[in-house]
C-alpha cells in the first residue's frame, strides 16, 4: 500500500515502516505502470501498491500533480473514457516520448544501482 492504511495505523513495528521515495522516482514508476497499457489514476495507485507490496512511502495526493506534470511534458496523454464500473474516468496513456523517457531512466537506474552496489556491497 502507498502509505500506512487505517488498519496498520497503530502498528509500531519499525521493520515494517515504508521507505521514503527517492526524488524523481515516482515519475519513472508511473511510466512503468503505464507501459502495460492505459489506466486511470486510481488504477495506477493500486498497481503501485501491489507491485511494491507497500514497501515505498508514496503520498497518494502527490500522484496527480505528477500525472499533470508528465502530461505537460508530453510523456503521457489523457483521455476521458468509461471505467470498468461503467463510470466516466480519465485514462492516461504512454506517448512515444514517454516510452523513450522510461527506457532512458531505467538504464540510468541500472547503472546507478550497479555503481552504488559495487561500493556498498563489495563482493568478498
Amino acid at each position: 500500500m502507498l502509505a500506512p492504511n487505517f488498519e496498520e495505523a497503530n502498528a509500531k513495528d519499525m521493520s515494517n515502516q515504508p521507505l521514503p521515495l527517492l526524488q524523481g522516482t515516482l515519475d519513472v514508476l508511473i511510466l512503468k505502470t503505464l507501459s502495460r497499457g492505459p489506466r486511470h489514476g486510481y488504477a495506477i495507485a493500486r498497481w503501485l501498491e501491489e507491485a511494491t507490496e507497500d514497501a515505498l512511502q508514496i503520498e497518494e495526493g502527490s500522484l496527480y500533480p505528477a500525472l499533470y506534470r508528465m502530461e505537460r511534458r508530453g510523456w503521457i496523454e489523457a483521455e476521458w473514457g468509461i471505467s470498468e464500473l461503467n463510470r466516466k474516468a480519465k485514462f492516461y496513456r504512454l506517448t512515444p516520448a514517454g516510452r523513450s523517457q522510461l527506457d532512458a531512466e531505467t538504464a540510468q537506474w541500472e547503472s546507478f544501482t550497479a555503481a552504488v552496489s559495487k561500493v556498498l556491497l563489495p563482493a568478498t
Binding site: N5, G41, A45, E60, G61, Y64, P65, G74, L85, K90
Partner: protein
C-alpha cells in the same frame, strides 16, 4: 510537438471541453469514490469508508490547486500548438489563393519589398548617424563656445575658459582641449620613422568628464594634479596603441616622442573612445605662455557636463552672466562677446546630418505607406471578388470568422514575403551604402562590423542586424493588419442585408475604397517626387558650385616644421627651396604651401579688426567716440590662410583686383594681405578694398590689403561663402603647412622623349599617374630634408567628392524612393482602372448596345483615371509643401517651394498615370456588346 493527438480526438476535444478545474475535480472525485468502494468492500460502513478514503488521500484542496497550476500551463501549450497549426494551414491556403492571381500578388509583394527595403536602409543610416556618443551619459554633455559681437562662434580663450570653470555653477564638470597634428616618434629610440598624429592637448578633467576609463594604466589626471607631478605624459587612443604599438599590454611607462619631446605613456583608452574624433593621443594642456593666453586668442574647445536638473537654457543664462562680467572687466577684448551652450550630441553630429537622417526616415515612411496602400488595394479587390461567397456562407449560417482569418492570412503572407524581400534587398545594398559612406565620420557606424558572431557568419555576405530585422518585421506586421482590417470589416457586415442588396452596391462601395487608396498612393508618390526633385537639383548645383579654387588633380600633403628643429628663418629657407624644386619637377604646373589644406574640415576663423586706429588710442576705444566713421573699429570674423606665392597658381585661385602675394613680400615691418571678394564685400561694401588696413587678433602690425581674389569656399561648400584672408608665409612663418601640387595639363609626353612624368594631363586621373606624382614629390622633399615627416597623400578632387557625400547619398536615396513610388502608384492606377473595366463590362456593353461610340467609352475610363490622378496630385502637392520643411537646411541654392519642380513632378506623374489608364480604356472600347451581354 508531443501532443500529436489524432484528428478524431482533436475533433472530440473541440466538441466537449470541460473546464480545467472541473476536470481535476471529476478525476479526484473518481479516485476517492473508487478507494471508498474498496474499503466498503472490505467491510467498512459507507460513511466510514468515504472518510477513510479522504484521510488516505491527504489534502484534496492542495492537490487540486497544484494540478490546476500545472494543467494551466499544459492547456496554454496545447492552445499555442493548435493556434500555430491553424495559422500554418491558413497561410498555406492563402499562398494557394494568392498564387491563383500572380499579377496583383507580385505587384503587392514588390511594393512591400520596396517599402520595407527603404525603411530598413533609412533606419540603418539614421541609426548610424544618431547613435549615442561613446561617452557616459552623453545627454548631459554640452559644448561651450564664445560668440563674437557679430554672432559668430569661436573657440574659447584660455582666461575665458578659466572664468567659466571658476564662476559657472551649472556644470558638474568642465574640460578644454585643443588639437594639433604632431610628429610621433618612438617607442624606443627617437630615430624610428616619424608619423603624423592628431594630438589633443587636454585638461586633466577631459577624460573623467566624458566617463573614459583607461583600458591600461591611468589617465593623466592623477599625475598632472599632484604637486610637482610629471606633466610630460601621454594617453594613447586604442587605435594608435594597436597600430603603432602592436597592442603591447606592457606599454604603460615606456617613452614616446611628440615633436621631439619625450613623454611617458600613462595609459591607453578603450576602443571607440574618441574625443575629438580621429584623435591619436592626449597630452596635458599646460598653461601656455603669455601670448597664447590672451583673451582674444581663441583656441580651446570646451566641453562640460550639466549638473543634474540644470537645463541647457539655464546653463546658457549662467554662462552669459559670466561672459557679461568678463566684458565689464576686460572691455578691450570681451566687449560684446557672449557665450553659447549647445547639447554635445547635436553639435558633434552637426545639424545637417541630423536633418538628413530625419528626412530619410520620413521619406521611407511615405514609401512604406504607399506600399501598404498597394497591398491593401489588392486585398480589397480579393475581398470584393469573394463577397458573394462570404455573404452566402453567412446567410447559410457559416462562420465569418474563418473568412476574416483568411483575409488576414493573405495580408500576413504578403507582408512576410515583402519583409524577406526587403531585408534581402537592403542587405544587398550594404556594399553600395558603405561605399557612399566612405570618409563620412557621421556614417562610421555603417562600416562598423556587427556583433562578432554575426559578422563572422556573414563575412563577405550582405550583413543584416537583428535591430533592422525586427523593425522590418514589425512594419510588415503593421502593414498586414492595416491592409487586412478594411476588407475584414467589410466581410463582417450583417449578412442578410448584403445578400438582399445586389452585388452592384457592394461593388460600388469597394470601388470607392480602392479609388481612395489609389489617390493616397498618387499623393505619396507626388510628395516623394517633389522632394527628390528638389534634392537632386540642390545636389547638382552643389556639384557644379564654384569653390573659388580648382581641385582637379591637385595633390596635397601635410608636413610640419616644428620649433625644436627649425627656427623661423630655417623654415622660410626650407619652404623656399622646396617650392622652387617642386615647381621645376617635370610635368608639374605649380606647387605651393598653405597653412590649411582645402576641404580638410578645419576652421581657422578669427576676428580681424578693420581699419584699426593708431596703437596709442587703443585704451580709449571705449571712452572716446571720435576718429573714423562711427568712432569704433569693427571686427570681421574671417578664415585665414598663410600661403607661399606658388599656392595661388597651384590651387587655381583667381585674381580680381590688385596683385597676388609675391616672393618679394618679405618685409615683416610692412605686412600685407590678399582677401577674397567675400571679405572685401563684407568689410568695405562698395568701397575699394585695396590699401585698406586691418589687424590680426593677437595685435601686431597692421596689414595692408594688396589684392582681391574670387570668393573662396575651401572649408564647407554647402555653407554660404565666408570671408577668407591670405597672408604671406615670409611674414608669418607658420609651422604646420600643407603642400599643394598641380600637375601640368595637356597630353602626357610620349614615351620617346624620355621624361618620366606619367601624371601629366589625363595621367593625373589614373592611379599609376597619381602614385608616380606622389612618389616624385616625396623624393624631392626627402632630398631637401630626409627627416621631415610627411602625411599620407590627399587628392583634392577626392576630398571634394567626399564633401558632397552626404547630399549625394541623401538625394540619390530619396530619388530611388521616388522612382519606386512612381512605379508603384502608376501600377496602382493601372490595376484599379483594369479592374473597374472588368467590373463594368456589362454596363459598358449596354451603353454600346444603346449606341455609345467607342470614344465615349474610352473617355469614360480615361476620365475616371484623370480625376483620381488630379486628386492625388493636388493632395500630394500639399503634402510636398509640408514635407519640404524637412528639407530646410539641406537644400543648396534651391528654394523649397520651387514651382518648376512641383510642375515637373506633377507632369511626370500625371502623364504616366494617364498612360497607365489608357490601356484599360482601349480594352473597354474594344468590348463586343453581344458577347459580353450573353456572358452576363
Amino acid at each position: 510537438m508531443a501532443h500529436s493527438a489524432g484528428p478524431v480526438r482533436r475533433f472530440r476535444s473541440l466538441l466537449w471541453k470541460p473546464g480545467l478545474d472541473e476536470e481535476i475535480a471529476d478525476e479526484l472525485a473518481f479516485h476517492l469514490e473508487m478507494r471508498a468502494r474498496e474499503y466498503a468492500a472490505r467491510g467498512l460502513a459507507p460513511a466510514a469508508a468515504t472518510a477513510a478514503a479522504r484521510r488516505r488521500f491527504g489534502d484534496v484542496g492542495r492537490v487540486k490547486a497544484e494540478c490546476s497550476a500545472i494543467g494551466g500551463g499544459r492547456d496554454r501549450a496545447q492552445r499555442r500548438a493548435r493556434w500555430l497549426a491553424e495559422l500554418g494551414r491558413d497561410l498555406r491556403l492563402a499562398g494557394r489563393r494568392l498564387g491563383e492571381r500572380p499579377g496583383p500578388t507580385l505587384l503587392a509583394v514588390v511594393a512591400l519589398t520596396a517599402g520595407l527595403a527603404g525603411a530598413a536602409t533609412a533606419w540603418r543610416i539614421a541609426r548610424a548617424v544618431l547613435r549615442p556618443l561613446p561617452f557616459a551619459e552623453p545627454a548631459s554633455l554640452v559644448r561651450l563656445r564664445q560668440v563674437s559681437p557679430a554672432g559668430v562662434d569661436f573657440a574659447a580663450s584660455v582666461p575665458d575658459f578659466a572664468d567659466w570653470r571658476r564662476f559657472c555653477r551649472s556644470f558638474a564638470g568642465i574640460a578644454a582641449f585643443e588639437t594639433a597634428e604632431a610628429n610621433l616618434t618612438g617607442p624606443g629610440t627617437a630615430a624610428e620613422p616619424p608619423e603624423r598624429v592628431l594630438a589633443a592637448r587636454a585638461t586633466a578633467s577631459l577624460l573623467p568628464l566624458l566617463g573614459g576609463q583607461p583600458l591600461l594604466g591611468r589617465g593623466f589626471a592623477a599625475t598632472v594634479a599632484a604637486p610637482g607631478g610629471n606633466r610630460r605624459v601621454a594617453v594613447l587612443s586604442h587605435a594608435l596603441w594597436r597600430r603603432r604599438f602592436g597592442a603591447d599590454p606592457q606599454i604603460v611607462g615606456s617613452t614616446l616622442w611628440l615633436d621631439g619631446v619625450p613623454l611617458r605613456i600613462a595609459g591607453v583608452m578603450p576602443a571607440g573612445f574618441a574625443a575629438p574624433p580621429g584623435v591619436g593621443l592626449w597630452v596635458p594642456l599646460v598653461r601656455p605662455a603669455a601670448a597664447g593666453s590672451a583673451r582674444d586668442h581663441h583656441r580651446l574647445e570646451v566641453l562640460a557636463r550639466l549638473r543634474p536638473g540644470v537645463s541647457v537654457s539655464q546653463a546658457a543664462a549662467d554662462l552669459a552672466a559670466v561672459a557679461a562680467t568678463a566684458a565689464r572687466f576686460h572691455p578691450e577684448t570681451n566687449q560684446g562677446w557672449g557665450a553659447r551652450v549647445e547639447a554635445l550630441p547635436a553639435a558633434w553630429i552637426g545639424p545637417r546630418w541630423t536633418r538628413r537622417a530625419r528626412l530619410l526616415l520620413a521619406a521611407a515612411a511615405l514609401l512604406w505607406l504607399l506600399a501598404s496602400a498597394t497591398a491593401a488595394n489588392l486585398l480589397w479587390a480579393r475581398a470584393a471578388a469573394r463577397q458573394r461567397e462570404i455573404d452566402l456562407r453567412a446567410a447559410l449560417g457559416g462562420g465569418r470568422g474563418r473568412i476574416v482569418r483568411q483575409l488576414f492570412a493573405e495580408g500576413l503572407l504578403l507582408a512576410l514575403l515583402g519583409a524577406v524581400g526587403g531585408l534581402l534587398l537592403s542587405g544587398a545594398a550594404t556594399a553600395a551604402l558603405r561605399q557612399a559612406a566612405a570618409g563620412v565620420p557621421q556614417l562610421a557606424g555603417l562600416a562598423a562590423p556587427g556583433p562578432p558572431g554575426l559578422s563572422a557568419l556573414s563575412a563577405g555576405r550582405p550583413q543584416l542586424d537583428l535591430g533592422t530585422a525586427g523593425l522590418v518585421l514589425a512594419l510588415a506586421l503593421l502593414s498586414s493588419v492595416v491592409c487586412g482590417l478594411g476588407p475584414a470589416l467589410q466581410a463582417l457586415r450583417p449578412g442578410h442585408e448584403a445578400v438582399r442588396q445586389s452585388a452592384r452596391l457592394t461593388t460600388r462601395r469597394e470601388g470607392r475604397v480602392r479609388d481612395a487608396l489609389v489617390v493616397a498612393e498618387l499623393a505619396c508618390a507626388t510628395t516623394l517626387l517633389v522632394a527628390a526633385g528638389l534634392l537632386l537639383e540642390s545636389y547638382l548645383r552643389l556639384d557644379r558650385a564654384d569653390p573659388g579654387f580648382d581641385a582637379d588633380h591637385v595633390l596635397s600633403l601635410r608636413l610640419a616644421l616644428n620649433g625644436e628643429r627649425y627656427s623661423p628663418a630655417e623654415r622660410r629657407a626650407l619652404l623656399r627651396r622646396l617650392e622652387e624644386r617642386l615647381g621645376q619637377l617635370p610635368g608639374v604646373a605649380a606647387a605651393g604651401f598653405v597653412s590649411t589644406a582645402p576641404l580638410a574640415a578645419e576652421r581657422t576663423e578669427e576676428p580681424f579688426t578693420l581699419d584699426p586706429r593708431p596703437a596709442g588710442e587703443h585704451e580709449f576705444r571705449e571712452a572716446t567716440s571720435v576718429a573714423t566713421g562711427d568712432g569704433r573699429s569693427r571686427d570681421l570674423a574671417a578664415e585665414w590662410r598663410v600661403v607661399t606665392p606658388g599656392c595661388f597658381r597651384a590651387l587655381g585661385l583667381r585674381r580680381i583686383a590688385g596683385r597676388l602675394l609675391e616672393p618679394a613680400d618679405r618685409d615683416v615691418q610692412h605686412p600685407v594681405a590678399v582677401v577674397d571678394s567675400t571679405f572685401a564685400g563684407r568689410a568695405w561694401p562698395g568701397a575699394n578694398p585695396l590699401g585698406r588696413r586691418l589687424r590680426r587678433p593677437g595685435g601686431g602690425r597692421e596689414l595692408t590689403v594688396v589684392g582681391v581674389v574670387a570668393p573662396v569656399r575651401d572649408v564647407d561648400l554647402e555653407a554660404g561663402p565666408r570671408p577668407v584672408l591670405f597672408l604671406p608665409y615670409e611674414q608669418v612663418p607658420w609651422r604646420a603647412m600643407a603642400l599643394v601640387v598641380r600637375p601640368a595639363a595637356g597630353p602626357p609626353p610620349s614615351t620617346g622623349t624620355g621624361t618620366a612624368a606619367p601624371w601629366v594631363g589625363a595621367g593625373a586621373a589614373t592611379a599609376a599617374g597619381r602614385a608616380a606624382l606622389d612618389g616624385a614629390v616625396r623624393g624631392q622633399i626627402a632630398a631637401v630634408d630626409a627627416g621631415l615627416p610627411v602625411s599620407a597623400a590627399r587628392w583634392l578632387e577626392v576630398a571634394r567628392r567626399q564633401e558632397a557625400a552626404g547630399p549625394r547619398l541623401g538625394s540619390w536615396l530619396v530619388a530611388l524612393f521616388a522612382a519606386a513610388a512612381l512605379g508603384l502608384a502608376v501600377s496602382g492606377v493601372y490595376a484599379t482602372a483594369a479592374a473597374a473595366v472588368v467590373q463594368r463590362t456589362p454596363e459598358i456593353a449596354v451603353r454600346q448596345a444603346l449606341g455609345a461610340a467607342r470614344g465615349d467609352v474610352r473617355r469614360l475610363v480615361l476620365g475616371r483615371g484623370a480625376v483620381l490622378t488630379l486628386l492625388g496630385l493636388a493632395l500630394g502637392s500639399g503634402g510636398a509643401l509640408l514635407f519640404s520643411r524637412l528639407l530646410a537646411g539641406l537644400l543648396y541654392e534651391t528654394p523649397a517651394t520651387r514651382v518648376g519642380t512641383y510642375a515637373g513632378a506633377a507632369l511626370l506623374l500625371g502623364g504616366v498615370a494617364l498612360l497607365a489608364s489608357a490601356f484599360p480604356a482601349r480594352r473597354a472600347a474594344g468590348i463586343a456588346p453581344a458577347l459580353a451581354l450573353r456572358r452576363e
